[in-house]
Symmetry: C2
Subunit: 628 residues, 2 copies
Amino acid sequence: MEDQISKISDAANRMRISSIEQTAKANSGHPTSSCSAAEIVATLFFSEMRYSVKEPKHASADRFVLSKGHACPILYAAWEEAGLLTREQVLTLRKLNSDIEGHPTPRLSFIDVATGSLGQGLSCAAGMAYTGKYIDNASYRVYCLLGDSESAEGSVWEAAVGGKIPVLGNETSFASYYKLDNLVTIVDVNRLGQSRETMIGHDLFTYAKRFEAFGFNSIIVDGHDVADLLKAFDEARKVTGQPTAIIARTLKGKGIEGVEDKDNCHGKPVTLDKAEIIASKLGNKTAKNSWELENLIDDAPEVDFEIGKIKMSSPPNYQIGEKVATRLAYGNALVKLADTSKRIIALDGDVSNSTFSDKVLNKYPQQFVQCFIAEQNMVGVAVGMSCRGRTIPHASTFAVFFTRAADQIRMGAISFANVKFAGSHAGVSIGEDGPSQMGLEDLALFRAVPNSIVLYPSDAVSTEYATELAANYKGITFTRTGRPNTPVIYPNDEKFEIGKCKVIRQTNEDKYLLIGAGVTLYECIKAHDILSSEGIQVAVIDIFSVKPLDNQTLIEQAERVGGKVLTVEDHYQTGGIGEAVSLALGDVPNVRVRSLCVKEIPRSGTPDELMDLYGISAKKIIAAVKNY
Amino acid sequence: MEDQISKISDAANRMRISSIEQTAKANSGHPTSSCSAAEIVATLFFSEMRYSVKEPKHASADRFVLSKGHACPILYAAWEEAGLLTREQVLTLRKLNSDIEGHPTPRLSFIDVATGSLGQGLSCAAGMAYTGKYIDNASYRVYCLLGDSESAEGSVWEAAVGGKIPVLGNETSFASYYKLDNLVTIVDVNRLGQSRETMIGHDLFTYAKRFEAFGFNSIIVDGHDVADLLKAFDEARKVTGQPTAIIARTLKGKGIEGVEDKDNCHGKPVTLDKAEIIASKLGNKTAKNSWELENLIDDAPEVDFEIGKIKMSSPPNYQIGEKVATRLAYGNALVKLADTSKRIIALDGDVSNSTFSDKVLNKYPQQFVQCFIAEQNMVGVAVGMSCRGRTIPHASTFAVFFTRAADQIRMGAISFANVKFAGSHAGVSIGEDGPSQMGLEDLALFRAVPNSIVLYPSDAVSTEYATELAANYKGITFTRTGRPNTPVIYPNDEKFEIGKCKVIRQTNEDKYLLIGAGVTLYECIKAHDILSSEGIQVAVIDIFSVKPLDNQTLIEQAERVGGKVLTVEDHYQTGGIGEAVSLALGDVPNVRVRSLCVKEIPRSGTPDELMDLYGISAKKIIAAVKNY
């Protein structure tokens, strides 16, 4: 035991030295935030965790999430100590051609989720732990290292939130509600933020009380005392029905003379020559230990799906003209995907009876995760559940409430996450609930995600196929659904593709091209019919795939009608269909684009009143065509 | 006392009836969420609060924030009972021409902040309470009604977060850290969410423990017992150095037979005939009381600024060619604004030494609010501080971290808030820290805000004027600043305007128009110089005002050069300068637009390496011009 403790302490010091050298060489980065966590990370990697150095993403390996991503030099140092990385490799920190980046990303084999936007790691870790406990039914455990400063982020408490306090004997939270006893979070309480001391400094007791109030078992330790840490991890392993929070008192910059526990040293590397002096004082001479690390319990099962080959259990089954809300069709499709795999998971933020993800809850309760009204956590949990390809999470809520999780979605993109988002209640066509409930920026939000797919089906048939297409794309997808019932316009065997639109009205006399989607497609059709009766011919496109756009068809059709294009969308202008089409056609000579969209803060009213008031009704389309 | 209790109870019942009738008439809305809060709101409005019915936004009136915005019928009913609204008016709920909207907005004289996206009210209330206690030094108090479901939102705990637990004798949190003893939050624990029971149902003790862990005084009450509520408010009034959370046990749908405390009744109005029966059972016959409500303590001072006439204490003072980061110039300008008014406030999320808002902290600590790493709360507090025109809050952090608060910014827009945002560390030009820290969606985020102003100054002089212009615009503004030092290109007396760009290079031989901003402007200038030396003339525009765009100049210049426009931006494509300019020029015949922007997830590297790798360097601009 004494020997183990001193071996780990030595490893921590070597890792500390490596962190200092990495950042000194890069002349940027966060040595002080790394040094406070050296013993915590060393104890995890060289005693507590069971994993594979040869295969860091092994399905049965324990997971480690560095929520305080800026401390990544200590993580790189751990993998160096474990033998995966060489000193030369970690010394490429922050260089252009190196994946040893300034904040961790899954470009590295041992990273599941990108971190660096603070306070997000615990949600992802909770998603992994949920998957381990309930989907994989496997032994692997999940560890999440939090900074003390980042515990000010509400997302941390969303991840934790919900638990009855255990002293009442009612152990329940997200982490605690779901009894994630395979989850341990360690808070590195080094007292100092970037610009000043945190609100509560070294008041470990308050941190502990907070986690307890959210349903965690909590343990206070000296974060530089390996024996104390070993004991805490051991205790956490014995706790059942509850996650554990280890509150670790540490010193920022621990081991760096003149810097340790001092303010104004955040994100400041030491010089290379000073790094050498520190190294010699810390005992650089200690020989590197060889660790026996291929010790995981290989009990996670194979997954039961193959991306690219996922099919709904049956095709759409609607009548042309039947009125069905696209949100309902989404629910129908999701159940039909869940029919085919236990790992198609629906996540909800307490609106499943509006988004119709409750169809999964009703048929397959074990494939449904209720995340309550905590959208940031829902997205983080989904990102965590998608890691290592263990599940295909489908997170749905009102389109507008994804805005609450915009930063989690952004980080999900940097994590190369495979999450399917579906947002209902798009635009002013939701009617009476008013502007706070209207999705008017959601297309922009999801279009801005690099490599994302954004689908905007208009009827029930296309919605079902959109849902199936999304499930077969590896990456972030968004499907926009609507609240009102709209008629089915496509036969049940219509073929839809990512990146392809549908030209649904065209004649040889067309002089204008109308581009609609969802509710506005029906307004375009109405406008088409009236204009046609007046002798004005217009082509109509159902855009379906907002990203990628079907540039080829758009250009062909725009040129065919003589260049006058009008986009109509139930969305704000910024980042919407009008801007996307404008840029796509911006380089085509003699093509012009005008955009009808929502241009001000809407108000309550009926859907039809609002569509007209905000300029996206058939009437307003007709006026725009006549004034083109 | 008995008499007062029964008067308030009667008022609560009348308000309950009004809520039921409003929603029955509208055939939509949330009667059950209203009824659980009837006694709480009645006790507040007819005993506890001091306000003015004649002038609801009186500077000295107590404030009420309905965080659970969907329960607005009970709030409309309270103002009906108080005499501000008539029954006819409240019965226009959710109609197009009525401001009695489905969720409350400041289109109504008695609403400070729009609610309806859950979990945001407490931050706004904390901002108001902070202003009352520290800026106004006035007697008014702030009350915030929270739903139990929404307490799952992390933003609630950001508002609360930070406090040492008072049993240790160390009263500090945001609300508790700043000792906001003029703030009372009431949690309406009606046990039921939209789709199911909340995680902890009627476990009042756990709610109380959570608020206590975040530094609040907590009181558990029966939320339908007026005597209990009166006592609790009285106790809260006596607590010093701490905010109070009143945890109220209530029943959803209280008073509606067959609906009270039942699941599946969220957002479902009763029929009009049933409303009548309920009304008669509840005692509709009680005569309306006349209340004496003009009882505020008029001690809030006049403000010391006038929007439109705010000037920096001195003009910019730089040398042409001097290298200054625009973030530094922002800090300089902010101090010069703070020189002129005690109500120019800087808000920070623990990065003030990077955004340079610490210049205000250093000179005027009382005009600086540290919000720690909790961006959602920072934005909510700023929105709250701007209410009633009490202050002009300037919230700054890294541009990318405003994405964390995207939903708060969205709700700020619906609140018609007057908040100045400034985001530093824009784009890949921040370099080594990597993608998690790079603002690449911030222009889209703020452009999407209706009526917003988005300024993107390129040098120190224009940044100072941008900051002054923003302070004089009533509404949401965003100023984008950069991390690297860039040369000053404008004289100190250059004139800048919202909606005006600067043509900084032009000849009669120009064949292309380059549009840049910030770091890319300098790349455009470099490209211009090289191209010019090769005999290829290009005009260069500094866009400065991204929203509104200077359409007139853009069109004139695009046509003048023959129609070939190239935008260059350190931002993703979606909602950025390229798309904005494309749509602005989309309807101009013979003008083409191409866009250079960041198109994938970036990585770590030096700023120059990254700008070249992602296609926005002078070299890549030159290639794009030659291939146009």
